[in-house]
């Protein structure tokens, strides 16, 4: 495929600034026509997705060496580019960007119908694009302070979107709660950044890790910073015990936003893995030493994962509100990712265990990130479609939707099978990788993971039975409008591709991400 050289060179920054440009063109264009913002938003997010594709091609061709883009640098300007703002894109960053690209495109198309009757659509699309900017920026930047800036951009934009349905007081309550927690975590993140800067005088994450390595490993201050970072990023990802605000925010957000919320929350996981591996798990090939013995950190992440899995699913079982139920399942699924990659962190300094099962566990955890974004995004979209037709989210008030909302029913079934890890679906492939490798790490945890999977299936069977089966209601609702169906179809199509070719997906998408995390320790290949 021929892509002009300009786009090849500038793809990393174009991914971020296209939605930013769109976000601020939207209100200007919204003055001219009330329907224009939706087209502008879709156009710019699609453009951004195309740039992600160009970038992905470039990253995979030179994996595991990251693509580096230095802002504002003349070639040969003589100033050390490390002291400039850099975008550093590797396999993991580009994987997260792909997730955000697919989900945001689906969500924006879905929103065309979903928010058609609300006023202030230009603000909605502005904030939606800003959320995408925040997530893209977080995963593409190589500079820890920019990570903070984009973290706050995505939090602020998401809060605005959670409070978008102004007729409900509950949405303000959820938005206040989420904003409060993310602001407090932002302050802690700033302290951690200050600690790094005070010790090493740089903000580039790669350079921090090398400076830490030449200083002889992590100091006490670095360990304090690590504690802050783990708290902050697991709060962003919505794992137990920092999950207080997530169910409220997920369930109060409008339908399309809940989907994008899942993808945006996973940037917290990205940042957690990035700091654990790139900064603290940095391997010095000359001395053979790691910056920090990550065994304890790995166990902490594993325990967070197990708690999230178990508490999330048990809370989900008792919910009556369909979106709240899915929100607790989102917490539970986050646990699998933490578990998988946490095992990788724990055995990082043990090459034998790492090659035996650590790499597979990481593969499973990272594969689960993209799978979860797709099927949980799809499930939230179907729940939004049900809400759009019935104006209720209470499961007791729905029955027999399958008679008329046929496409929505089929899509829900696909999503439910995928989240429960039923064999042909993509959720099965990633969970199998996690079970097999975690069983070698600690059998009890693997058994808990399987139990949680069974409970997830039970919970979704209950939802399917009570909402979609049963006698035909008196006023059977129509199926969702076309644009919403298109949005869901995008996600379904990707899920089916992932289910049919899991091996290919792992090889092409996931392995570069794992290699990027383990670089340079495992430079040769997985």
């Amino acid at each position: 495929m021929m892509v002009p050289e300009f786009f090849q060179d500038h793809a990393p920054i174009l991914v971020v600034i296209l939605p930013l440009l769109g976000a601020f063109l939207t209100p200007l264009i919204g003055k001219a026509s009330s329907r224009a913002p939706r087209y502008v938003a879709a156009l710019f997010l699609l453009g951004s997705l195309a740039m992600v594709a160009v970038l992905a091609d470039k990253v995979w061709s030179q994996s595991p060496i990251p693509v580096v883009y230095t802002l504002g640098a003349h070639s040969g300007s003589g100033i050390n580019p490390v002291f400039r703002i850099q975008l550093v894109v590797d396999g993991l960053g580009v994987l997260m960007a792909i997730i955000m690209g697919i989900v945001s495109t689906a969500a924006v198309l879905y929103s065309w119908s979903f928010i058609d009757k609300y006023s202030g659509q230009d603000k909605y699309y502005t904030l939606l694009q800003l959320t995408a900017v925040g997530a893209y920026g977080m995963v593409l930047t190589g500079d820890i302070f920019n990570l903070f800036v984009f973290f706050e951009i995505s939090s602020i934009a998401l809060c605005g979107l959670v409070a978008f349905r102004t007729e409900r007081g509950e949405s303000f309550e959820a938005a206040f709660k989420y904003m409060l927690y993310s602001t407090i975590s932002g302050v802690f993140l700033l302290f951690a950044i200050g600690i790094f800067y005070g010790e090493y005088g740089v903000l580039n994450m790669g350079v921090i890790s090398e400076a830490m390595s030449s200083a002889g490993g992590a100091s006490v201050l670095d360990k304090i910073a690590l504690g802050l970072l783990v708290t902050v990023f697991s709060l962003k990802a919505g794992s137990v015990p920092m999950h207080m605000a997530t169910p409220d925010a997920y369930s109060e957000a409008p339908g399309g936003i809940s989907a994008i919320f899942v993808a945006a929350s996973q940037t917290g996981l990205y940042a957690l893995f990035r700091t654990s591996f790139t900064i603290y798990g940095h391997y010095n090939p000359n001395t053979g030493a790691f910056n920090l013995d990550t065994y304890t950190l790995g166990w902490i992440v594993v325990i967070l994962g197990v708690l999230s899995m178990f508490i999330g699913v048990t809370m989900a079982l008792v919910q009556k509100d369909i979106k709240r139920l899915m929100a607790y399942h989102a917490i539970s699924q986050t646990g699998y990712m933490l578990l998988g990659v946490g095992v990788g962190i724990a055995v990082l300094s043990d090459p034998a265990k790492m090659t035996a099962f650590g790499v597979d566990a990481m593969r499973g955890g990272i594969f689960h990130i993209i799978n979860h974004a797709l099927y949980k995004g799809l499930l939230f979209l179907t729940a939004g479609a049900v809400f759009y037709r019935l104006q209720t989210r209470n499961l007791n008030e729905m029955h027999g939707l399958g008679h008329t909302m046929r496409f929505t029913t089929v899509f829900f079934m696909i999503g439910a099978l995928a989240i429960a890890g039923m064999p042909p679906m993509n959720g099965f492939s990633s969970k199998l990788l996690i079970y097999e490798s975690v069983y070698q790490f600690n059998p009890i945890i693997a058994v808990i993971a399987m139990l949680v999977s069974v409970l997830t299936l039970a919970s979704f069977v209950k939802v399917f039975y009570s909402a979609f089966l049963g006698p035909k209601p008196e006023n059977p609702p129509e199926d969702a409008p076309t644009s919403m169906l298109i949005g869901m179809t995008i996600l379904v199509a990707v899920i089916i591709v992932f289910s049919l070719f899991p091996g290919l997906v792992v090889e092409r998408l996931i392995d570069p991400a794992v290699r990027a995390l383990l670089f340079p320790w495992l430079a040769g290949g997985v």
Partner: protein, 152 residues
């Protein structure tokens, strides 16, 4: 919308408002030479907006105008970044190139001129517009909320 305050406040506001606004503009335009810059100057100018809203009520400002100023500021900022795209985003290709803001500067301790800095003054102006617009909108929105007190 908020009621205007007493005559004393209005008179003092009328005297102080232009002074604060001019100081804000000074900070924006001298941002590349002295302490200050787009954000600081914009914040100072926005506090002039706050003064007017408190003293005279919010009717003097139109929301549409402020939001246009804000969008214009951001587009100008991104435009200033995109000028440098021949090298990299945000590259300062206008510096030392002649024209407006393009006067050459020598490295080291110099008597810096106002027309130096390349895209930096442009970005300061852009950020200034952005901040005046954004903070002004925040003040207008909250002052409107503050004086409609009914509870549903």
């Amino acid at each position: 919308m908020m009621r205007p305050m007493s005559k004393i406040v209005r008179s003092m506001g009328g005297v102080l408002y232009p002074l604060i606004a001019v100081f804000g503009g000074y900070l924006i335009l001298h941002g590349h030479l002295t302490p200050g810059g787009g954000f600081q100057g914009g914040a100072v100018a926005a506090s002039a907006v706050a003064l007017v809203v408190v003293a005279y009520g919010g009717t003097l400002y139109k929301k549409g105008v402020l939001s246009t100023v804000e969008s214009f500021g951001l587009l100008l900022f991104l435009g200033a970044g995109l000028i440098g795209m021949s090298a990299a985003f945000f590259a300062n290709t206008l510096a030392n190139a002649g024209g407006l803001f393009g006067d050459a500067v020598s490295f080291g301790v110099t008597d810096a001129g106002l027309n130096t800095g390349g895209t930096v003054p442009l970005m300061n102006i852009a950020v200034g517009c952005e901040v005046i617009g954004g903070l002004g909108l925040i003040i207008l929105a909250l002052s409107k909320a503050a004086f409609t007190r009914e509870v549903d």
